[in-house]
Symmetry: D2
Subunit: 357 residues, 4 copies
């Protein structure tokens, strides 16, 4: 069995990408994800890959667009403001049905904000910060090991569905160190389709491949959208991932992802000491969101309240409410600007709502 | 009383901005909103204002940032892909609490898409396509006259709350002509605060004003966010606008905005002929969304179904569901890629759902 | 008679431009010319003009291109690296025969270099740093008063010939203060042609004006070049300016411009004390270069040597040699990188060459 | 012995670069040099190299800067306007003493100009279109075979002196086909210094390498300039190349490079038929210019006139005059804008000057 090594989150992102066969990386520096690019800049030459620091985030995402169109496993990484600069490009990539991996190590916003961890780009990632009807598959690891697993799986999902995949991490996960096994713990076997659509150069032996998102005739543009809509439906049916902890019999359920899911576990433990039974639903895919799993909570009799806890002013809580659909009261607790809620303040809020103590 | 004139939507946008005292416009060409800039380029010199075609959408939104920071009434206009390019800038403007007007004449997407009308940027506009917890006030006119009114009011709202306001129009509204009175029909008197925060130059007679969104200390960044959150709450309480038509006693309620609300009225008329009573809820502010008005529909006994009809793959429908909160079934009907649903196809869908005919 | 005021060189540049009727300025910050933009940013609003800090030097020069095409008196200002970034745009403006004023407050190079004064952009200014056969009129003031005069005259020359004019100053002239009269000392009356070629908007009452530098048919492109060549010949005949000091009877002649011409006067004074008669030829127009005046030195019997003294590694010296055409020995003395030759070291060099002492 | 193949000039540029060990190419499309990039885009993957189409010429030259700093053999290629956009970057590379190859396939200018061949960027290439005192080694092939040789040698010269080298070709040379041997005919053995200054990553086993052109202390910046000046002197002493044909005994000497040197040979042949003896001096290095060889012409008794013939409005003629230094009359004949002088019109001009016929 593989040896455990101690590694920083941002470096694990880089190593996992290499592991997944990614050989092209384009990016532009921004804290707190700089170690991703730094690590990859060292590793790529060793494996014959291409690392390039572009002149801006716009240049980077459009290089990703180009490399993805040529069939390469390609990745970029940035943090909140940088990801905003990529919104046009991301929409183009999704519209052109191209696979790639985009990492967002979220920091506090809006604006320049700060460099401390945050989860305030949830809407941008899951609802589409760019224009038009498109979706990213959004994966939210809560440990370094899971980060490695999801990056490897993310590349596979991207290739399977020809769709950009986003890893939504935060500054805490990027900067912390954990012991990991440097290989994906589980790797679901996927039948990846051949990239026969890629623009790999044409010598006349096959019709010319064209990567395009421009359709001036609305009937044709609608047709492209119908293809996308159908694909998104398949993803919603097949790719939802979440972790469910002690939900049956719980008095209250916390919905949390990423770093906040780590806090949630401590909250649950402390709550138990107070005699309160707290379950946790941890979405691993933020899109597709585990609406059904959340909806099921609505049918558990003794659950008195559902809490969306976030490092934001309240974003995922909308999806939680959509899932619960009025069957249980939904509460929100969050902190912003790089502040991470402590287990105690979350517990206090739960106690207040449940009128315990 | 003022004379009626026949005017194109995009030109009305320009004239209304001048009327509202806007004297700075920065933009970059994109169909189907080019007449906005073209019209303003002629009018600005006549009123001593500044029209500038920037070198890109990024340049344009950052010029808006600068002019807004200096206290000017300033505006930009673009269409879907161009608005995506502005997401970083918009987040900066919102974070810096600056007033400005951003017009999005939506076209079919995603990607380059096409130049026909669409409503597929709803999520981007209302949930925040940029990073961080921020909100735009989003106004959705459905006639040219209302466009004029909302632009004038939009500048006032922006100034009152020190927040960017977006006019969410579409290619249909931009290109169509209607007879209008070239003055706001109603102009709510607002007590606009003095712009004593503006960077108008400092001769030492007052402390230096600084426009900023960078806060390296998380406690300070959270503080800025708390100010924003509090402001957004006040906007949600005071600024919701919607139009309600024949909802009491309706069998079904259509929720629709902009061009789709025009279709909805024809649908309702045709439905009446079939003996079906169809009410309409037309959100005028998309954010803040009229959740309470939607929620109230949930309590009307004979309403059998609520329909969100959109020129998208289904975006506003999430807000409708959040408002209804499980009390009525919510359905969605939409077309994408520049296709506009016809009244008949919408009616057919309603009849299918209601099992009429 | 007008009052004398004490003013910094960079500010005098700004005030002179306003005085000359310049109402549009586009630029991007760079030391040591920032006071130019800073001063103009304050003055433009007072006179109803437009000051705009562009997003880059490229953006700035292309805004100059646009404003010049529309017939405005327009100006930009930068320092060495920034001027390099403008080379494509300058070639376009010259090719399109548009008048404008470009100020280069030279600093030490090459590369990022330093912020101290230099004259190392002489070749770039006079031979054409951009592509193709074009010429700038290059004016080199050596006092603040002359800077004011030449800026006012520069705008006139630009308009008369429809050609970009460059003011070639250096960090010393930009930063120093001198008492000046804030009006041009002499203003040559020029018959400025109407700007009937300007793209001021077309209502059908005249044929559409087009500003263009693209000619795909080589015969047409040659035609444009012949027009330029003819114009440059007229400028060479009519616009040469220089100052000649004590050349008749001199043992040696110094050719020097700008800051170096100030040093030259001290050198000449000190030389006189040593019994050496040193004349000075100070080119005021660097292009057209006063070749005839230099050639005439070749015919003065007792002149033993001609010296080109520069804050560069030797650039103008080529033009001096072209003028002298072998009739006298031509020597060069210079310092680089922001170092200014002292009068003593120049004198030492002269004495060495003349074998005096 | 190697086989002859028929190849287009632009493709020969690409193949020669690969042959020279160049493994990094960054560029941006512009006619008439697009086949350079197209060819290299196919070949680089075959040899494990990196081809990247940058987002602009600015991006391209700065990527060249980066790769050169890391010690790679790197190249870019463009045509006149694109080369203007690179002037800042070129000055930075020269200031940082980095080796690289820059190809300019000149087209008619100024401005957008046209896509036909030209030699009007001579000044830009040889005098320095960027700011500051720096020099490029400028090589001017006049056959495809020589292009191959000079590209291979150019990379060596660049490495030997740590200086950017420019290949100054024109659209004619880029587009024509000639039979060539795909290896350098002669390859001068050069002792290339180790690139121990390159930023190849630092593990602590040696002091950190820094690539820099910023020196805020003028004494230090002057020091860098003295190093450059000394290097340029060595290049002038050791690297001048030219071809001399039938100069001894000539009535007239044509100085011409590149495509014009091909015309010159036909002119000489036709002149001979008229009984006029015409010699040719063909500079192969435009910088360092063969001043001594030109000067020597001044001492040949029977030479009545020297002609600089160019596809420009007269640029190299200044260097010819500097070389001749008044000893013979120097004439200029040229065409611009993509027009190539015919042998007959050149001959006519020569006859007019010599008052033959």
């Amino acid at each position: 069995m593989a040896q455990k090594v101690l590694i920083k989150g941002n470096e694990a992102i880089g190593e996992a990408a290499i592991m997944a066969g990614c050989r092209h990386f384009f990016g532009y520096p921004i804290t707190p994800q700089n170690e991703v690019a730094e690590y990859i800049s060292k590793r790529m030459p060793q494996v014959g890959g291409c690392f390039l620091q572009a002149e801006s985030e716009l240049a980077a995402i459009n290089m990703v667009y180009g490399a993805a169109g040529a069939g390469a496993r390609v990745m970029t990484s940035s943090s909140s403001p940088g990801i905003s600069l990529m919104q046009e490009g991301i929409s183009y990539i999704a519209a052109s049905e191209l696979p790639c991996l985009i990492v967002n190590v979220m920091r506090g916003g809006p604006g320049l904000g700060g460099i401390q961890p945050s989860q305030a780009d949830y809407f941008q990632a899951t609802k589409g910060g760019g224009h038009g009807d498109y979706r990213l598959v959004v994966l939210a690891p809560s440990t370094i090991q899971e980060m490695i697993d999801l990056i490897v799986e993310g590349f596979d999902i991207a290739d399977q569905y020809r769709n950009p995949v986003m890893i939504l991490a935060d500054g805490m996960l990027g900067q912390m160190m954990e012991p990991v096994v440097l290989e994906p713990k589980k790797r679901i076997e996927r039948q990846l389709p051949a990239k026969d659509w890629a623009t790999t150069g044409c010598d006349g032996s096959r019709p010319r491949n064209v990567i395009n998102s421009l359709f001036m005739i609305p009937e044709q543009l609608e047709q492209r959208n119908l293809v996308l809509i159908d694909k998104y439906k398949r993803i919603e049916q097949n790719e939802v991932q979440y972790q469910s902890i002690d939900i049956e019999g719980a008095d209250a359920v916390l919905v949390a992802y990423g770093t906040m899911a780590r806090i949630a576990r401590t909250v649950a433990k402390k709550a138990k000491e107070l005699g309160i039974s707290v379950g946790i639903l941890r979405p691993i895919t933020l899109w597709p969101f585990p609406y059904d799993a959340v909806a099921a909570i609505g049918d558990i009799p003794n659950v008195k309240a559902v809490f969306s806890i976030e490092m934001s002013a309240g974003q995922m809580v909308e999806d939680v409410k959509l899932g619960i659909s009025g069957k249980k009261p939904v509460y929100f607790y969050g902190r912003t600007g790089g502040m991470i809620p402590s287990p105690n303040e979350v517990l206090d809020y739960i106690c207040d709502v449940l009128e315990v103590r």
